[in-house]
Amino acid sequence: MIINGVTIDATFAEAFPMKATRAIITAQNEKWAMISAQAMTGFATSVIACGCEGAIERVLEPSETPDGRPGVAVMIFAMGGKGLAKQLETRAGQCVLTSPTSALFAGIDGGIRIPLGKNLRYFGDGFQSSKLISGKRYWRIPVMDGEFLAEATTGQVDAIGGGNFLVLAKSQPQALAACEAAIEEMRKIPNVIMPFPGGVVRSGSKVGSKYKTLGASTNDAFCPTLKGATRTDLSPEIESVMEIVIDGLTKEDIDKAMRVGIQAVCDLGAENGIKRISAGNYGGKLGPFHFHLQEIMA
């Protein structure tokens, strides 16, 4: 398959089941909601070493938030429910509770309930109080700038992590420009996050390593500087490869995000140095979810 001079490989991205949750952070203005959300989703690029994958899903209008203030929706994904709950609690406690004027609300109403403000309330040292409003419990925790309001729980749902595609370009600036264009479009799709810095990862990994202590190592088949030194997957003119990783609530959400992302890259086309779109997989052995690039773009 070739779109606008860009070859779409007959391969698939391999993804695996995860647990996910969403939280809504509001603040006096969008600036402070964003600061809090960025802090909460910092160091959350990959479950390999961060414990979770998290990112800002989108900015919310005041009319969309529970308290009518500007807000930001963040999503956090982890391999298991227990790990997810722990990550959510520590990140909420250290990054949202501490952030001036912030309030924290559930972003998923259904699913298994996991603590959001339920345990943070103990920071109130006995001065905390709760309000049960329309079936939802909110904790009011007195803090030095006023009162931190946090919904007691949020929902944990089954999700999918590790959807991805690779952008193979003639130069590094061209690969990055294409990924930026893709991310801009993909951020408009609900229920997905691209957890790496700016949504783009330049150090795609393969499973395993020559070093026993490492579970993952550089994806040498796609490293342009190793074209002559390893079993490469790159043609001579490819000088840079970048990857976009997608976590989403459902397969359809990831499908949609991949489609708009790949389309944005293809719109730049061969004339802007984009040669191929590929994807990372492990031969179908690791994850039960397969995203076939050509089917998605058909």
Partner: protein
């Protein structure tokens, strides 16, 4: 099916215990069976069809017309369905109610919604003393649900209240929120003496400055984030509480009752 409508024939001489006419108790009964239910009235037992004319058949939508202040225990332990009272209701209206809704077009007597657990009670007129309170000797009053009173309420509203909302568009009598354990009482009108007497936790939300006891301490003026959410939850009510112009988030906060555990609060609109 048409709502089951009971129209009171005459003003009763004695008080009448209406508790056998809760919707869930009538579910499996034919109209003849409902007509044959006996209600305690003083020392006598009177058949339903002696007291009321009966129309309609949907026992899960009960309408009591020409209602009288001597009809006690209307909707006692109601567990689903709806009761509409046209006229006044007696004492113990919606006592121990578990689910469903009750609407009264007139006034209600003592102990309305006492020990209510869930559901919705709307009184268009006034309510007597001990609205949403605990029965004498009991330690737990209203445990959930919402009470809306469009008129005034008597003394001790929310006494020993544990959870839920009591919304009063008019005035509240003395000892409003006394011995409250938690929950919210909102009063748009004036409040009486000894507001929040011995309250432990909970919120008294007021539109007008009350006369506070010395055991309530001023915590200053604040903008509280939970208030917009609380007011938003009232938007579906047929009430002035649903009016956006009535909502606010800037309040003077008083903590009390300091003679008790002092975790309660009186919030006054500023």
């Amino acid at each position: 099916m048409k709502a089951l409508t009971l129209t009171l024939k005459n003003s009763p001489e004695q008080r009448i215990d209406m508790s056998p006419l809760a919707c869930q108790l009538l579910k499996a009964l034919a109209i003849e069976d409902i007509a044959a239910i006996t209600l305690q009235s003083g020392k006598r037992k009177l058949r339903v069809d002696e007291l009321f004319t009966i129309e309609g058949s949907d026992s899960q939508q009960l309408i009591i017309k020409n209602s009288h202040e001597k009809l006690d225990f209307i909707g006692k332990d109601l567990d689903g369905g709806s009761i509409s009272v046209v006229g006044n209701a007696g004492a113990y209206l919606a006592m121990g109610m578990k689910a469903g809704d009750i609407k009264v077009s007139g006034n209600a007597g003592l102990y309305a919604a006492c020990e209510m657990k869930k559901g919705y009670l709307e009184i268009s007129g006034n309510a007597g003393d001990f609205l949403g309170a605990a029965l004498p000797g009991n330690k737990m009053g209203m445990k959930g649900g919402t009470i809306l009173v469009k008129g005034n309420v008597g003394q001790r509203a929310g006494d020993h209240m544990r959870r839920g909302n009591i919304l009063i568009e008019g005035n509240a009598g003395d000892y409003c929120g006394s011995r409250m354990t938690a929950g919210t009482i909102a009063v748009m009108g004036q409040t009486g003496r000894y507001l929040g007497y011995a309250m432990r936790r909970g919120t008294l939300l007021l539109w007008n400055q009350p006369q506070l006891s010395a055991s309530f301490n001023d915590c200053g003026a604040h903008t509280l984030a939970f208030l917009p959410i609380l007011f938003a939850s009232f938007r579906t009510l047929n009430s002035r509480f649903a009016d956006v112009t009535q909502s606010f988030n800037r309040v003077q906060r008083y903590a009390g009752d300091m003679s008790e555990m002092g975790r309660g609060e009186v919030l006054v609109k500023i």
